[in-house]
């Protein structure tokens, strides 16, 4: 079948006596949505940060399209983050520039990959505001005036405008009201399918993982305790921890 976009093997990282990553391996293929689920402190966000080069592991290897991510100079990693990768933070304030207009937040990413024509950038920003269901009339407002859900949608537009191949998402619906979460999840689902993105999403929301992910990894105490096809892991969980996780969800 296809070769993986990203591959990691034997990842180890300790914080003092705590193993945040304990011999973790993961593959992500083009167009594949992979969810990492697990409780707080299971190591899932650490894994995301290591894979995206934000944090160095004590041991292990990470490759992206054949390139060694850990050996990559910082400038090359930053270039990847501007072009082929995207990172959606849990708190949109970490992914947006709050003093810059909504249109500017989107246009800035385009300019970072070489776009120069003002009219084209503005047209593309308008298009992306519509795609994330923000009224283009808000183009010149600063994101500080937006609701939390709007800020998160703006962050997603900013990340996706450069058509990355691989997007890392850290609890993208984490801080939002339930009614806002559903809209955002549906939006992410549609955009990911339309653009054929590979996504690695960290979440503790099992329903979100079921909706979005093709494959699931369950983490506990720094280890991947179970992985596989999303519906098989959730409907026929094998590991005691996965059984606990799945049975703890209240059906609405």
């Amino acid at each position: 079948m296809s070769t993986p976009l990203m591959e990691a093997r034997g990842l180890q990282l300790r914080f003092g006596r705590v193993a945040a990553l304990d011999d973790v391996a993961i593959d992500i293929h083009p167009g594949e949505v992979v969810a990492i689920v697990g409780e707080s402190g299971s190591g899932k966000t650490t894994l995301l940060r290591v894979l995206s080069g934000l944090m160095r592991p004590d041991a292990g290897a990470v490759t992206y399209r054949g390139q060694d991510v850990l050996a990559m100079p910082e400038a090359a990693r930053r270039r990847l983050m501007r072009t082929e990768w995207g990172f959606v933070h849990q708190n949109p304030r970490d992914g947006l520039r709050l003093g810059v207009t909504a249109g500017g937040n989107i246009g800035e990413r385009l300019m970072a990959v070489g776009a120069r024509h003002y009219g084209n950038i503005r047209a593309e920003a308008t298009e992306w505001l519509k795609r994330v269901e923000i009224d283009p009339a808000r183009m010149d407002d600063i994101p500080g005036k937006f609701s939390g859900g709007m800020q998160q949608r703006l962050q997603i537009a900013r990340v996706l405008v450069t058509r990355p191949r691989l997007v890392f998402m850290d609890e993208p619906t984490g801080g939002l009201d339930v009614s806002v979460q559903a809209r955002l999840l549906d939006l992410i689902r549609a955009l990911v399918a339309d653009l054929g993105l590979a996504v690695l999403i960290v979440t503790h929301d099992i329903a979100a993982a079921r909706l979005l992910a093709h494959r699931i990894l369950v983490m506990r105490q720094g280890q991947v305790v179970e992985e596989g096809l999303t519906d098989r892991v959730l409907d026929d969980p094998q590991h005691a921890y996965t059984q606990l996780l799945v049975s703890s969800v209240l059906a609405a």
């Binding site: 594949e32 549906d186 909706l211 494959r215 096809l229 519906d231 409907d235 026929d236 059984q243």
Partner: protein
């Protein structure tokens, strides 16, 4: 022999409940079942015998404990029990369909898009996929004014008809049907019988659970007994 569409060999399945002290519940033992193209096999057996578990194993939704589930996928024969998740997704897109009893609704997605989605996943253009979806929904007597609405608030029977339209939209070579007529009235049961007969005529292999004996007698070519495990032992 040799022309089968799906062949389960010595399939076993038990559930280990870690939260209940690790108790092990055996459900399927040594089940072997072969289905030919154009054939409809009805699973028979008392409630709790494991018919739905067998269906879920055949779809790859439950992992197989032991045995093989061979399926003809394009020009290849694949063991669904050991296939990589990406291959299982490809099999479900192109070869293997499943109509469950209940529709899993997604916020904000309209009925017609739910039905069209399996076709669009295969690369069918939106217009063509949507047209096919509307035809099927109308055939199943779901009025046009409901087509664009998300079915969360629809009745059980309406949701089941959307599920059926979705299952029959993509002409799968192998189709699993779990109680497809459970909440339907007589008129819609006849529509489903028609859809199943057409699927058989184009060479689809079907496996179904039908508590409705009238429907079963009309469309099943043979019964396959799923015996509770203590009787089989």
């Amino acid at each position: 022999m040799g022309n089968w569409a799906l062949r389960a060999e010595n399939l076993s399945k038990d559930f280990r409940l870690h939260l209940q002290g690790g108790v092990r519940i055996p459900v399927l033992a040594d089940v072997s079942l072969t289905v030919e193209p154009g054939e409809c096999v009805a699973l028979a057996g008392p409630s709790g015998a494991g018919k739905s578990t067998l269906m879920r194993c055949l779809y790859g939704n439950y992992g197989a404990g032991a045995g093989r589930i061979l399926i003809r996928h394009g020009d290849a024969v694949v063991d669904l029990a050991t296939a990589d998740p990406r291959l299982v997704r490809a099999i479900r897109r192109d070869t293997l369909g499943y109509v469950s009893q209940f529709l899993r609704v997604i916020p904000r997605i309209g009925a017609v898009d739910i039905v069209a989605e399996p076709l669009m996943a295969r690369g069918v253009a939106r217009d063509a996929a949507t047209a096919r979806a509307r035809d099927l929904l109308l055939r199943l007597n779901l009025p046009e004014r409901l087509h664009n609405l998300p079915p969360a608030t629809f009745s059980g029977g309406e949701q089941q008809r959307i599920n059926l339209a979705r299952g029959f939209a993509a002409d799968y070579p192998v189709l699993l049907l779990d109680e497809p007529t459970a909440s339907l009235d007589a008129a819609n049961r006849q529509v489903v019988i028609g859809l199943i007969e057409e699927a058989k005529a184009r060479g689809a292999a079907l496996i179904g659970i039908f508590h409705d004996t009238e429907v079963r007698d009309r469309i099943a070519d043979r019964l396959f007994d799923v015996a509770p495990i203590q009787d089989a032992a």
